[in-house]
Subunit: 198 residues, 4 copies
DNA sequence: TATGAATGAGGGTTCATTCAT
DNA sequence: CATGAATGAACCCTCATTCAT
């Protein structure tokens, strides 16, 4: 990669990082292209060399950040010797909850923008290739000795339950704080999994 | 109520209805005050007689619409002879899901804007008095012969599970359509309730 | 004067007093008809029964306030036994300066709005009749044993010197505070008068 | 200076000139940004590249114009062989009065906006460096063989006397025209100076 | 590639004025 | 006389986008 290409990548990443910071601190709507380029230290026109508009850069950020979160959780899981399926799923949930708890701006950004569609397409079947194979997470369910009526629905319900309850609990302590809520969530996950065993 | 007051109420409602239509079809951000007043057929200044700004009218709409949805479900429930708690909860969930299924714009609007905080304050403990007493829904849990570790958390988890899974399923048929998804949701609700019995 | 007429006068005066308060605290431009009628406690339409617009009420206030200031000074002068002309003029100047010093909002309002033209027409030759005869002040010069080349110019120069130096000194202490400045002003007045003796 | 920089300067000056014309013919309040940009022939947004708002451009104009007036007078003075201090001061006063007389819009603009504070900071101690050194005017008093009790107060009183009497006389011929008034003003200046000799 | 001056449509908001009650 | 809901023109200002350099 030549010097020019390196410079290009640096510019692109400066824009991505800056945009993420601004989106999470000020919100998508209040963040202007001006804000982004000024903070990133590039010229206004340069933005348009890399991204179509504000929404383009946002979409690229979502996939990037979500993939990163799962890779962290997945890596941590691989360092455990958990074998039971529900233990493994709950380990992942817990890890991700903690990531969100540690970085609330990340939680806001992901929650407001990540749909199941994006999740499935961008993460699970991701053809990105650059990072970990996220099919793993999905594979956990399929390669288990237990079988489920509909693994995708199961995963979907778990993801939705965790992410939506997290949001209110971590950000507003409503109805209770996340540490207190966790046992309920994990219990619920176990029950949902049991109910879907084939 | 005099002629003038009637006229005022009509104007206010024209603005509310128009705003709701536009918010749900074009989104909050893309809807302008101009759009609203033009469509509602009033002068721009009139908007500011009734609402502080776009966010004020949105907040008033959320409470209004959410209250309405629950009142419909509650009324339907009262016409059944269901006695078992889980049956009653699932009846409510089903009814609300069907309302969303019948009016997707409502689903979008409510999902994007209703937080648990608003839900609790505006609906359950609503001092509005104009409509049904929403404490009912909450009361269902407390007046039941069964008791739960933490009724509020239980309700919270059910609401979050239903609303977040609905969204993807009804709007995008992801991961599966709502009719197919329902049994899974209802099963999950039963399991979650069972796990929280004290 | 009937009850209705009394009520009318009360409304009019409420508007005048309120307008003065608002003009002096917020400025002419920032004060709206809305502000005035709300604070005065009358309906919006009522304003237009008494005044043409914001500028009409301002003009009526200027004359009213200026006349009042001079009447206070004049009355105080009549209670002294000063006989020398320059002493009498300086007494008036001092008295008016002190009134301004005690009520800076009055100073701002008068300074920004009172022109020599208004001063002459509204005050000196005032046909108002309701208050003191302001011709007095002018008459002081003419009835004096000393005579001046041009009494009106003399008065004009004194008024302009006093009012313009006051403004900066009282409001901003620039270039020096009013107490320190006074001897210079009074000295200057004496010199100007001497130079114009015929 | 490149082509772009030249263009920028031209735009900025077009805006300044246009704003001055409009402020002096229509008043600050009645002049809108729209007026300015339309007349100047630039886009609305361009205005905001150079100035924060209407008041920003006004402030920049005041300093600019006032400095210019004094520079003209100062230059004219340097071409005379006047040595007596009061003659020099009166020469400056006369020159400035004539400038105002020749351009009444300038008089209105300056009178309504120039305070002693601005005068002192922006003109006398101006660190601008671009124009003449205005400390000169101030220095005239200090370097004179005569000494004064308080040179700043002396200058202040002269400036205020001249500017406030000018305003009424030039614009409204009240109480008399400027040519007729001048001898009185100059006489007054001489008297005031004499009274302040230490 | 990279720049940033220039654009101008369109945003939210204000407020003097009217007129039916 | 008094009201105040309604009006709508006009305000200031923002900001995504372009394009000559």
């Amino acid at each position: 990669m030549g010097k020019i290409d390196l410079n290009k990548k640096k510019k692109r990443e400066a824009l991505l990082n800056t945009a993420f910071d601004l989106f999470t601190t000020q919100g998508l709507h209040k963040t202007t292209i001006n804000n982004i380029v000024e903070t990133a230290g590039v010229a206004k026109g340069t933005f348009y060399l890399y991204f179509k508009d504000k929404y383009d850069i946002r979409n690229k950020l979502i996939a990037h950040k979500a993939r990163y979160i799962f890779s962290i959780a997945d890596e941590a899981l691989s360092k455990t010797d958990l074998t039971e399926l529900d233990d493994r799923i709950i380990f992942l949930a817990d890890n991700i909850i903690e990531q969100f708890n540690a970085d609330r701006s990340l939680l806001v950004f992901i929650s407001k923008n990540l749909s199941w569609g994006i999740f499935k397409n961008e993460l699970i079947y991701s053809g990105d290739g650059s990072d970990i194979d996220f099919y793993n997470i999905y594979a956990i369910l399929e390669n288990s000795p237990k079988t489920f009526k509909n693994p995708e629905v199961l995963l979907f319900m778990i993801v939705e339950l965790v992410s939506s309850t997290c949001y209110s609990s971590i950000l507003y302590n409503e109805p209770i704080g996340i540490e207190e809520l966790k046992p309920y969530i994990f219990d619920a996950i176990r029950q949902i999994m049991k109910s879907q065993e084939a």
